[in-house]
Symmetry: C2
Subunit: 236 residues, 2 copies
């Protein structure tokens, strides 16, 4: 069953789309999925369908608000700029989505995992940095660095799985090294996978800019498999 969850943060109204499995009499585990920079468009309706095969409650998050639905790459890029710069806003919106998911009667709020793609990977890592009430986060070809990166003395409760294209031109080895240093400083439970030869957006069937952002069926399948295994471990 599909359900649209409407909620506000400040003056902005958001619509996040959910899948509820049949016969959800008891609260069950849930996945909160943060889209890439395109936001919750048709592509993410299909991704919601793909995720629904796992049998959990799934929410595709609207991080922009109902009045903001970019239709070109340039538009989308402009939309994420302020969210990349002001991570407090990112954290507020991501938290609001999470709270609205956790409040569903079909959801066991102690069993939620966040996954995110590209810009959405950035969002789930911000949830991890504030130890939002999720068991784990999975970033797929997501931005790793943050102006609010943690350091010695901070902690991260959720487990972190980063699925990274080793040749992603937007996330060079230095950024990966910086992220690993952050995870080490806070003694996180973290895993980072380098997919050799892969650039940005390896899960995105529409990505076709060789050397920059390109779909790869094998890596899509490998990263999905690793993610599913991580989810199975966490949901127990």
């Amino acid at each position: 069953m599909l359900r649209t969850i409407t909620y506000s943060v400040g003056s902005i109204t958001f619509e996040s789309r959910c899948y509820i499995p049949p016969f959800s009499e008891k609260p069950g585990p849930a996945l909160i999925v943060f889209p890439n920079l395109w936001g919750p468009n048709d592509y993410w309706d299909e991704m919601l369908e793909k995720y629904s095969t796992l049998g959990y409650v799934v929410m595709i998050v609207d991080m922009y608000g109902v009045d903001t639905r970019p239709e070109t790459f340039d538009e989308a890029y402009e939309v994420i700029k302020p969210l990349k710069a002001d991570r407090e806003v990112t954290r507020q919106r991501a938290t609001a989505a999470l709270e609205n998911l956790a409040a569903l009667q079909e959801v066991d709020s102690s069993k939620v995992i966040a996954t995110g793609y590209c810009f959405g990977g950035m969002c789930v890592l911000e949830l991890a940095r504030i130890s939002a009430p999720v068991l784990g986060v999975v970033s797929l070809h997501g931005t790793l660095k943050s102006p609010l990166a943690l350091g010695q003395g901070d902690t991260i409760k959720p487990s972190v799985l980063v699925l990274h294209g080793a040749e992603d031109p937007g996330i060079p080895d230095e950024e990966v090294a910086g992220f690993m240093a952050e995870m080490r400083a806070v003694d996180a439970d973290w895993q980072l996978v380098h997919f050799g030869g892969q650039v940005h957006a390896f899960t995105d069937r529409k990505a076709n800019r060789p050397g920059h952002a390109k779909y790869d069926a094998l890596t899509d399948s490998r990263s999905w498999g690793m993610m599913v295994q991580f989810i199975a471990e966490k949901f127990g």
Copy 2:
């Protein structure tokens, strides 16, 4: 069914132990497993049993010869020294084991995957470097560098999966970076997983030197799962 395969390389006789699944009327896929520096001792009989649950033919390789069965860590360390230094000998012995496995009537020689632990990880990467007839190799907390490392113009046919403890004091980040550079130079199909907080020997139930070599049940399970997924992909 267990079977001991005896063969020679030069003047040395080797005994590698195999598991053959029941009802192996047709040749099937096989795993060739390279032990850690202890060589094929009781621990590896148990590992053979663990591997047998996957349902494939399995060989636990003897890289030392029947007359060399180290009983202390210092002895074992002395045994691997010449093999670490002279990788041609390592390659010869690993190749001989692979040939003897592939020759079994129960084995489909076009479907073999090599896995290795610690010193054994080093062995499987040498098999990859010579593009031995395996579909893939998996190194678990294995040595990554090699005096015979490949470079521009070389190729690697087998897919490579490296499962690495991010805090392994024997395999620092620089060695990982060097290995990644090698894989990039030869345009390999490679994946490398950093397990955060993990040191050397995270799969070895007997390893208990905090900060150096230590068993970790969760990472043992995670790395096993990733390996099984890699095997399933390759065997199709």
